[in-house]
Each structure stands twice: as C-alpha cells, then as structure tokens.
C-alpha cells in the first residue's frame, strides 16, 4: 500500500477524455516519475491530486484518506506540496517573507488570526527559513524583492517554500523546464540530497529524461490519458511500448 | 391590465437609458477589457451637448423697435436669435424648437472625438494594468469631466425642452396616456441599439471586433491591427452614451452629476446582463427598468416598503451570487 493511491481515475472535459482508468501507487519515500508525450494527461492528473480538479470517477487516497472534494489548502495541510510549471511565488514580497508564509501555514494551520504578534519576533521560524534558504544557496538573496529575481531563482524559491513545510509528498510539475543545463544539474543534486536526508515521497512530471533517470525509483508512462506501463527505470528505457508512444516526440 | 401596461411603459424609458449606457460600457469592456467608470460622465456630456446647442441657437442680437415702448416709456429692445434673422422667424423658430433632436447631429462627432481622445490619451496606457487601477483612473476622469461641465454650466439643472410637436401626452389606448417624448426616446434607443448590432453583425469591421471580443490574442496573431478598431469602438461607445444623454434631456433636466447617478445603475445593469455580453446588457437594461417601475407601484410598496429603492441592487446581488456571469455572460469572464 503506497502513500498515494490513485484508483480508476477518469476525467472528461466536454467530450474529451483527458484521463481514463488511471491507477497509480506511489510507495512511501520513493521518487515516482510520470512521463509521457504532450497531451497525455500528466498535468490533469496532477491537478486531480491537489484539488484543483475533481475527477469524474475513481478515488485518490493519500496517507489513508481521500483527497477528493477537499480544497487545495486542505490537501496541502494533509502533507502535499506542489511546485508549478511556471513558478508561483508571492512576487510582491521579499524572499524571506515568501519563506515565512509556508512556515506559518505549517505551524498554525489554514487560518489563525494573529494580528498583533510580530513576524520579526518569530525567531524559530526565521531560523528555519534561513536554514532552508541556505540549503538552496539563496541566503544572500533573503532581502530581495521576489519579483526582481531571475526565473531560475524563482523556481528555487518555490521549491524551498514547498520543502520548508516538510511535506510527506512533493509534487513537481516539470521543475527544470526552461532551465540551463547547470541549473538543471543543481536542481537534480538538490532533489537527490533531499531524498536522502528526509522522509519524503516525490512525484515528478518531467520531460527531461536526464532528470527522470537521475531521480526516479519508478516510472509510469502515460499516453492518451491512460497509464501505458509502470516499471523500474532500467526496464522503461528501451521498452517497446514507450518507444511507440514517444516516437516522433523530440526527446 | 391597464396598470400593467402603464408600468411596463414607465419602465421602458428608464430601461432605454440603462440599456444604452450599459451597451457602451460592456462594449468597452468586451473589446478593450477596461472597466470604465467615466462612462456615466459621457452620458452627461451628451446631455450637455444639447444644452450647448440650445444656447448656441438662442444667441441673439438686440434691435430697437422704435414703434413700441416698454413700460418705462423707453424704446423697446427686441432680442432676435441669429438663426431667426437668417432663416426667417418661422424656420428659425422651428430650428430652435427642435434643438434637442438636432443636437444628435452635433453630438455624434463631438462624442466620437471625445472617445478617441480619452482612449488614445489615457485609457490605452491602462490596458495592461489591473482592473482596480482602471477603475480608479476613470473614476478620477469622471470627477474631472463633471467638474469641467460644472465650471461652464453651473450646478443647477438646465431645462432642455422637447420640440413642441413631441411634447405633451398621447392616448395609446383607452385609459393609457403616456408622454410622447418617452415614446420617442424608446424608439430612438431601439434604433440606436439596432444600429450598433447591425454594424457589428454585418460589416467586416464589426466581425473583426466581435472576433476580438471573443479572443483578442488570436485575432492579434492573424496580423489584424485590432487596436485601431478598438479605438474606434471606444468612440462608438462614447457616441452611444452621448446620444442616450442628448435625448434624455427633456425627460430629466441635465445637471452635472447625472452621470454619476446613472453610472452605478449602469454598472449593475452590465453585471446583471453579464460582463462583455451586448445582448445581455440590453436585456438587463430593459428588464431592470421595468422591474424598477413595477416595484414603484403603490400596491407593491405597501406590501414591501422601500422595495422600489433597492430592487435593482437586490437583483444585482442575487444574480452576482447565484449566477456570477450574469444573464447572458460567457463563462470565465473576470471570474
């Protein structure tokens, strides 16, 4: 029994079948990659996991509880954090403030009116945020306005914001898309380190096979909204069905 | 039955004004994506176009009629409007009498020009800024425009009477009398609305604009310069609001803050109709006008006191909560 259990999930948009009969089991403390050609339904699946979409059929269980019908913030409070394809950060706030918000969410839950305490008095949280920023090599940018950062830095910040919550499951939606090679390698190193250091399960959607094969313990190939194969990375390489699905795709 | 018809008729003239203003408002929103709080001011400027024309036509010169004396025994001074001396008293008098309908001809170019200037000079810098900024800057513009009018024409309402022939009441059926000018106003607004729809429906220009309303980016990708057409649409919307104002003068004497008074209601109308939906705006305009008129019936007020004051807002609140895209709005517009 994995920490994330997706059973018979189907989703239609109008007449279009985006997902059908998706079954997926992600074991605890592993990295599970979901790959597949464009339009295979990867992002739709991800949206079903975090409460942005509600599947038409099937069930999604996380840690023994159903996530269906819960709103995104409730699902996050269950222990799922998500990194977006285009970085979603608080662009109007400073880097440090960006880090404080997930820490408050983790400590105080979805809502607490603490209107007269001071953010600058939260020493433990600030130290925690600084440690995390240090881990992603951004401590020197702590005072910076988030909007002023490079795209790569925004991604790293978003990742740090998710990791600082110490989630049980981290969902990554193409975390290296548009990154330079060096940045990609840094991200891979960071993720490997996190995997080794923490009790964390990672589900990753990725186009870059280099990233996938460096990280994944198991791989699911999605095509036309249905899982094609699920296996160990070494078995996926050169799998005839996968080749078939990807043929013509430039990768 | 008579009561019913009378109430519907009563609702039509206000509804016509709502529909015309809301039409322009939603046209601007649909094409340019701008929330224009200065639209009420355009309506007001339209009304003052007819005030201006009326004053212009009444410009007079003085002559001394030696044959008569006034009550002090001095020679009588007679004021003759220039138009009367140019066209003769009969023709000139008729021109002055018909100054409100004539103001339509005058208002169209003026309003289109004002619309152009507004769009090119101010609004276009706000396309990419948040809606809140658009609301704020056009709100400021509305204040400026109404203060300019106040500086020229003062704070008191100015009568702009309807032509002699079109004032008075008509008996539509037994027991139903109705002011003629309100019938004229209704027909006029139907004609303007029809004109705008026909323009959008049957001209290439209108087709591009409609396509742009549906999907601005795609139309932009086709290499069509959508911006120029949208500027023209702003002028058109301004003209529609202005015409609504010109003809509204005889119903309610124009004053400088009539724009603000109508603005809130027209926004409510647009929201009820559905942001960016032209038929929605027209439908909601008439519906709310008629609804308001029914709510003003004594029987209804006795039943629910004060309902006539709040009915429109109440409907708007319910619609916004139950059906946020309004009666005919497309899904996903500013939700």
């Amino acid at each position: 029994m994995g920490i994330l259990e997706v059973k018979d999930v189907g989703k239609n948009f109008g007449g279009l079948k985006a997902l059908s009969d998706v079954n997926l089991s992600v074991a605890e403390n592993t990295c599970h990659a979901i790959i597949g050609p464009n339009g295979a339904g990867k992002s739709t699946l991800l949206n079903c996991l975090v409460g942005k979409l509600i599947p038409d059929t099937g069930s999604v269980m996380f840690d023994g509880q159903s996530v269906l019908g819960r709103s995104p913030h409730e699902i996050n409070q269950m222990g799922i954090s998500r990194v977006f394809q285009t970085p979603e950060i608080f662009a109007d706030l400073s880097v440090m403030e960006n880090m404080m918000i997930p820490l408050f969410a983790k400590r105080d839950g979805a809502y607490r009116l603490h209107a007269v305490e001071k953010v600058s008095n939260e020493r433990t949280l600030i130290e925690e945020a600084e440690r995390m920023l240090d881990d992603v090599n951004m401590l020197d940018k702590r005072g910076m306005h988030a909007a002023a950062m490079s795209r790569g830095d925004k991604r790293r910040l978003e990742m740090a914001m998710c990791l600082v919550q110490d989630p049980k499951l981290l969902l990554l939606d193409e975390p290296t898309a548009g990154m330079a090679r060096a940045d990609t390698n840094n991200t891979i190193d960071l993720l490997i380190e996190i995997k080794e250091k923490r009790d964390i399960t990672i589900a990753i959607i990725e186009h870059d096979m280099h990233v996938v094969f460096s990280l994944a313990d198991r791989i699911t190939v999605l095509a036309q909204g249905t899982p094609l194969v699920e296996d160990l990375p070494e078995n996926i390489k050169g799998h005839p069905k996968v080749k078939e699905a990807y043929l013509g795709e430039a990768h | 039955m008579d009561v019913l018809i009378t109430q519907i008729l009563n609702g039509l003239d206000k509804g016509s004004a709502y529909a015309l203003i809301a039409l322009g408002l939603t046209l601007i929103f649909g094409t340019l994506g701008v929330v224009n709080f200065a639209h009420g001011a355009l309506f007001m400027i339209g009304a003052f176009c007819s005030v201006f024309l009326q004053r212009l036509l009444n410009l007079s010169f003085e002559t001394i009629d030696a044959t008569k004396t006034d009550f002090l025994g001095n020679p009588l001074k007679v004021k003759t409007p220039y138009v009367e001396s140019w066209f003769g008293p009969e023709m000139g008098g008729a021109i002055i009498d018909w100054s409100v309908p004539l103001a339509i001809l005058f208002a169209i170019p003026v309003m289109i020009a004002i619309g152009f200037i507004m769009e090119r000079g101010l609004i276009k810098h706000f396309y990419k800024r948040p809606h809140a900024d658009q609301i704020l800057v056009t709100f400021g513009l509305a204040i400026v425009l109404q203060e300019i009018i106040k500086a020229f024409y003062g704070a008191n309402p100015i009568q702009t009477p309807a032509p002699e022939a079109l004032s008075g009441v008509a008996t539509l059926a037994e027991g139903i009398v109705y002011p003629v000018w309100r019938i004229v106003y209704f027909c006029f607004s139907v004609a303007v609305i029809g004109g705008v729809f026909a323009f959008l429906q049957f001209t290439t220009f209108g087709m591009v604009v409609r396509a742009g309303m549906a999907d601005r980016e795609t139309v932009g990708l086709l290499g069509i310069d959508i911006d120029k057409r949208f500027t023209f649409m702003f002028g058109l919307a301004a003209a529609v609001a202005g015409l609504a104002g010109v003809m509204y003068g005889p119903i309610n004497a124009p004053n400088y803050h009539m724009g603000m008074d109508f603005l809130v209601l027209s926004f409510v109308v647009v929201v009820v109709g559905g942001m960016g939906s032209l038929p929605g705006a027209v439908l909601a305009g008439f519906l709310l006008g008629i609804l308001e008129s029914f709510a003003s019936m004594t029987q209804v007020i006795e039943l629910i006191p004060g309902i006539n004051q709040i009915i429109i807002y109440l409907v708007a609140i319910i619609i916004l909560l139950v059906r946020p895209r309004g009666l005919m709005g497309r899904k996903g517009v500013m939700e």
């Binding site: 403030e97 809502y111 603490h114 209107a115 | 807002y313 609140i317 916004l320």
Partner: protein
C-alpha cells in the same frame, strides 16, 4: 519601543508630534492678517482631519493590504454615526459607550456584507459592495426612517430618555457630548502675540483615538496576519497551495476596516451629535478611496496624509476666490494679473474638485504609491545627488 522596530517607532513619534502640535502647525498665520482665513487649526476642521484619517487607515487595511477595492465603505461610517447618536438618545451623552456601540454595530454590519461580498473577487466584489452601500443609503432615506429619521437626519432632542443622563440640562437645553464630564466642545485659547491657538478637548480625544488606531494598524502591518493579507494581494493561488485559506483572512480584514469606519462615524457623531444618510452615499465611499490612493495605498502614513490633504482642499483650498487671487498677484501688471487669475480661477475655490480629480488621475497614472512614494523618490534623488554615485535600488519592504 511599544513593541515596534526602530523605523516604525520613529514614524509613530512623528505622527504623535504632528497630531499633538497640530493646533500650532495648522495655524501659521496671525489672527486678523489677510491670510488668517487659510488657517486650518480650528477644532472643527482638525477633528475632521483625524477622523477621516482613521477612516482611511482602516480602508487601507483592506484595500492596501489585500487589494480588494470596496466602493461601499461609507455605509459602515454611516452605521457608526447612527449607532452613536442612538446611544446619546437612549443612554447618556458620554461618548465612550456610544463609540463602543458604533464599532460593534458596524463590525457586525461589515461581517454580514463582507461575508456575502467576498464570495466574489475583482470588479464583482467592488460592485457588490457598491450595491450594498447604495441599498443601505436608500433604505436609510426611506423605510428605515423610524431609525434614521430619513432626510432630516438623526438628532438628539430634549425629550430623549437618556436613562443614565438627563434629558435636558438645568437651563432647559440639550446636554452636550462628553467623556465622563469632560465636554467635547470645551476649548482653551492660547494667545501668543498676534497668534491665537485653540486647543479643543474634542480634537485631542479624536487625535488620541487616531493614534491608537494608527498604532494598531502598524501592529497589523507587521503581524503574520498582515503578511497573509499582502500574500492574498500578491498570489492567491500560491496561498491556497501553501495550505492557507484566504477567505477568513480577507473577511477579518474587511471586518476590521469596517470597524475602523464605524469608529470614525462614531467619533463624528461624538463631536457633533447628528447623523444623516448622505454620509453613506457611494460618492462618500469614493472619497475614502481618493484619500487612500492620494496618500499612498499600502503604506502606513499615506492614508492619513491623503485624508488630511483632501479635507484641506475641501475646507481651505476652496476658499481661494478671485479676490484672494487678485491680492496675491497684485504685484503683476494689470493685464497679466487678470490673465493669470483667469487661468487659475477654474482650479481653485469652488473648482477644488477639479484640481483634486486631476491630481488623483496623475497619481494613479504616474505615482501608484501616492504622496509617500513621491516623497521617497525625491528623497532618493537627493541622496543620490549627495553621494554622487550610483546605488543599487533599495529592497526594503513597503513601510
């Protein structure tokens, strides 16, 4: 000090000094001089400065922090005024229970309206608040006449019960508002040479309330709650996926700002015990929007400056008529003098709204941070000149 960091403490001290010394600062011209009519240091106007300051501070907590633009906040101010006057009628002329009731009632009112309005965002939220406010206004004028006294407005009268006070004073007049016997109307005139400075009890009560309100606003800005509100403005999606529910936060901000408005309304009634429906009209809501934007939305001190500026325009700037202009420009040759007066005329005196509208448009277009941003830019430019070397732009968060 006060649990604030150094920068905020000095800001608070500046505001304390300004409000406490306002009777001096606003009265620069000697009594009897030609300029005396431009003195703003009389109690009535100073009270309005700080009361509208409170209103704008509260509005800024909603609009400045969360970005939700309400066009109906005047409704809460009106509700506050009505509640206070009712307290004067029924209980006593002591302003304390009246103000407490205004804040409480407007808070409840804001809770209901906010709960409904906040189900929508953006322009829809603005229009919902606008519709609610207009409804309240229309109802106050018509159906609710037993509570609001309709067009006449609600006033204290001689036959009010006032269970804890007296219906009428010994000499048969209506008792005045007071704070445990300290009459709001009481004032002390200090005459220094040609100057007269008036210190009114009412003003200082309002000023102290405003300082408390300002202090609380600073605390909110610096609190985790304030951070969440700014996060809501910045990116609601991220906030959702970070495990936070934005709704209770925005609702809390809405209610707090509604209570600030109620406080302002209550104080208004405490200074002059009457309440009218026109305080609730949407143009009055527009005014607080103007104040906040002009001063600097999202900044601490901005709304107070904006409120002061608009009230100064309304009461002092509007006094500049042609005679005054002629006397100012009398040193010029006649023709030029007349011409300049002619040019300036539409913008001053009764035309003050025009100037205000133009300034507002300029601020929205070029200075989104209002007067505060303008001040900061000037300060930065001066600093740059002094140091004569390029400096990286500062990254400190908004103050």
């Amino acid at each position: 000090m006060f649990g604030l960091d150094k920068k905020d403490t000095s800001l608070l001290w500046v505001v304390i000094a300004l409000t406490m010394l306002a009777p001096f600062i606003l009265n620069p011209f000697p009594t009897g001089s030609g300029m005396a009519q431009f003195n703003a240091g009389y109690p009535d106007l100073m009270q309005r400065f700080v009361i509208f300051g409170i209103f704008a501070i509260g509005f800024n907590i909603l609009f400045g922090l969360t970005g939700y633009l309400s066009f109906g906040h005047a409704a809460f101010l009106g509700v506050g005024s009505y509640s206070a006057v009712w307290m004067f009628k029924l209980l006593s002329m002591n302003i304390l229970p009246a103000i407490i009731l205004s804040v409480a009632i407007s808070g409840i009112f804001a809770l209901v309206i906010g709960f409904v309005s906040l189900r929508r965002t953006g322009i829809y939220f603005s229009i919902l608040t606008l519709a609610f406010a207009q409804m309240s206004f229309a109802l106050a004028y018509s159906v609710l006449t037993p509570i609001t006294n309709g067009e006449t407005g609600l006033q204290v009268t001689l036959d009010d019960p006032r269970v804890l006070g007296v219906s009428a004073t010994a000499d048969g007049s209506i008792p005045v508002t007071n704070l445990f016997g300290l009459e709001m109307r009481a004032a002390y005139d200090l005459v220094v040479g040609p100057w007269t400075f008036t210190f009114s009890v009412g003003y200082y009560v309002c000023a102290i309330v405003m300082l408390l309100a300002f202090y609380l606003a600073i605390r909110i800005f610096r609190s985790p709650f304030g951070l969440m509100l700014r996060a809501i403005k910045s990116n609601q999606q991220r906030l959702n996926y970070t495990g936070l529910n934005p709704k209770p936060y925005t609702l809390a901000a809405f209610v707090i700002s509604g209570m600030y408005a109620g406080l302002a309304g209550g104080l208004m009634a405490a200074m002059d015990p009457l309440a009218g429906a026109e305080r609730m009209q949407w143009t009055a809501s527009g005014e607080v929007v103007l104040m906040t934007i002009l001063g600097g939305v999202g900044t601490l001190i901005g709304p107070v400056l904006g409120a002061g500026m608009i009230k100064y325009f309304e009461n002092i700037f509007s006094k500049i008529n042609d005679n005054v202009l002629h006397s100012w420009f009398s040193f010029l040759p006649d023709g030029i003098e007349d011409f300049i007066v002619l040019v300036i005329h539409p913008f001053v005196g009764k035309g003050w709204h025009l100037t205000l509208g133009l300034i507002f448009m300029l601020v929205v277009t070029f200075l989104p941070g209002g007067l505060v941003e303008g001040g900061q830019r000037i300060a930065r430019a001066l600093r740059k000149k002094k140091e004569d070397e390029p400096k990286s732009p500062s990254t400190e968060p908004a103050e």
